[in-house]
Symmetry: C2
Subunit: 332 residues, 2 copies
């Protein structure tokens, strides 16, 4: 149905190649011919077919794929926004795909994107990876982070938020340990001793880093009182709320709660703990007065896109890791 180049050429009374030259601003086309071709293209409503163009020129498509969790989660959508903004400055389009936090689907998506010859792949690996050892469901074949052979090597791949295991690749991380440490230090400085830690799936590397950062700060302060209040693998807001309620109902309840991501924080908030610090900033955190470990999620996406873009532009150096800093925003 769409108009082809040869139709334009026919109408302008020139060869296909000449029409191509005229439309591509190439040299060696007389002004009159060029004008005739442009007029013909305009009249017919010609639109270049990029599929054919990209097939012929071989450069691959002008698409970049982003695989992450559901965009309804503000973390992923902020990342996507940052990625898109950076890509567009280079004329690239973003294909977003939801891995559903499932490895199988993630693999299928990667395959589909590669078949479309995307120029680069940005991946926030699904949380469906098992912990490397001693995990509850200890599946020896799987690792806590994605393994190398599952990802392509012929195009740039950048990992976001979670580092790949046993695979040297570009990646952008948040300073998880540092952020969690600052949260712990803040609560300790405020005089808390019994601090509950409500964390998401420990099989994701970022969660482990946050837990470890928190634990390290507590160790450094010689505090072990918090340990009975550790709750992990809390994956949604409802469970977080219930978990905090249960904690508060203990004979000797914690005096503060640290929740390790925005979903858990908003859930915990509903249980109205006496003090709450959350990892990830969120809308209205200022209004409800929750202290948070903030970081720029859009920057995470932007930096990932930049890493990919340098590779697309030919950089072949060693893998780089960009760490997005966190900052503690104290609210009352």
């Amino acid at each position: 149905m769409p108009v082809t180049l040869s139709q334009v050429a026919a109408r302008a009374g020139v060869s296909v190649k000449t029409a191509s030259r005229a439309l591509n601003q190439e040299a060696y086309v007389s002004a009159t011919t060029r004008a005739r071709v442009l007029a013909a293209a305009d009249e017919l409503g010609y639109r270049r077919n990029r599929l054919a163009h990209e097939l012929r020129t071989g450069g691959g498509s002008a698409l970049v794929g982003l695989i992450s969790g559901d965009l309804a989660n503000p973390f992923y959508s902020a990342v996507a926004s940052g990625v898109e903004r950076e890509l567009r400055r280079h004329g690239l389009l973003l294909v977003t795909a939801n891995n559903d936090e499932d490895r199988e689907r993630e693999r299928d998506l990667i395959e589909a994107l590669l078949e479309r010859r995307v120029r680069a792949l940005l991946v926030v690996p699904s949380s469906g990876y098992r912990a490397p050892s001693g995990a509850p469901d200890g599946d020896a074949r799987t690792a806590g982070t994605p393994a190398g052979q599952e990802y392509p090597t012929d195009i740039p791949v950048v990992f976001l938020d979670r580092p790949p295991e046993g695979l040297a690749a570009d990646c952008v991380l948040i300073d998880n340990a540092g952020g969690a440490r600052s949260a712990a230090e803040h609560l300790l400085a405020a005089g808390h001793h019994r601090i509950a830690l409500v964390a998401d799936l420990v099989r994701t590397a970022s969660q482990r880093a946050r837990i470890e950062g928190f634990a390290a700060a507590m160790r450094a302060a010689g505090n072990t009182e918090w340990e009975p209040y550790l709750r992990t693998d809390v994956h949604d807001a409802v469970t977080a709320e219930r978990t905090v309620r249960e904690l508060m109902a203990l004979p000797s309840p914690p005096t503060a709660v640290f929740a390790t991501n925005n979903r858990l924080t908003t859930g915990a908030l509903r249980a109205r703990p006496p003090a709450l610090v959350g990892f990830d900033d969120f809308e209205l955190a200022d209004v409800v007065g929750v202290t948070v470990v903030a970081h720029d999620m859009t920057a995470l996406g932007r930096e990932a896109a930049r890493l990919a873009l340098t590779r697309i532009d030919g950089y072949t150096g060693p893998p780089r890791t960009v760490v997005i800093p966190t900052s503690l925003i104290v609210r009352t």
Copy 2:
């Protein structure tokens, strides 16, 4: 660099066509040949080139484009999430593009997507359209909603949230007038008389519908006291906050505020008006106790995708309009 079909064929010792047949599960390939081809493909790590495939078969790509505002806005990302979920069930991928609320950029994006031969286009038109008549900056050439000739006719186009003007096209809308009316009625029933209306850009049709719905309810109640408290073209949270503060500082301040979208509501919230109702639900609205006119933004995306899918599947009937209902969620 990637492996081509002819390389696979060569390795399997068959013609390219036979290799193609084997990989496509076509009939008339002997079991042994098929096995040899599959083995060869596997060994070489063959991956079909969809660009070539789609070029040859002509069906266009398996991509659907979604043009909207920044994904960092939860409204757009919820929509995108709904769209993606529906598309994936049909094996289609989603390309998301940010129009930056700018018509020019929106046109460029449409062009870029059409060149990629997307199968359908979903558009949340940029708010950069001027009101049709008597608008403050009355630009006669532009309309309050997108005009027909700017959009393609050879592929399905579905409009989201804002109806196209003078163009019969599929679209999915929110019951803006009805939702605003229910908000007004709720506030009136609660005994409020002086109700402020804080609205976004009046040049967008959805905002006008909300204002009109509100005004209609007030008229029906014989209330004109609200009119001095009408504030429009408030476009961001900070301005909303300031606007509400100013309203509250009036000699005879309003006793309630109705904000016509989530951004304005969260802004207004910071000014702590005595009573607040917002259009669009938002995270933590329950915690901060804001009554809202809620609607399913994910459903908006899903329905839009469905409309497009039926067209892709051959439906050629008249344009349809789906209206997403709203519901008042009363919170205290």
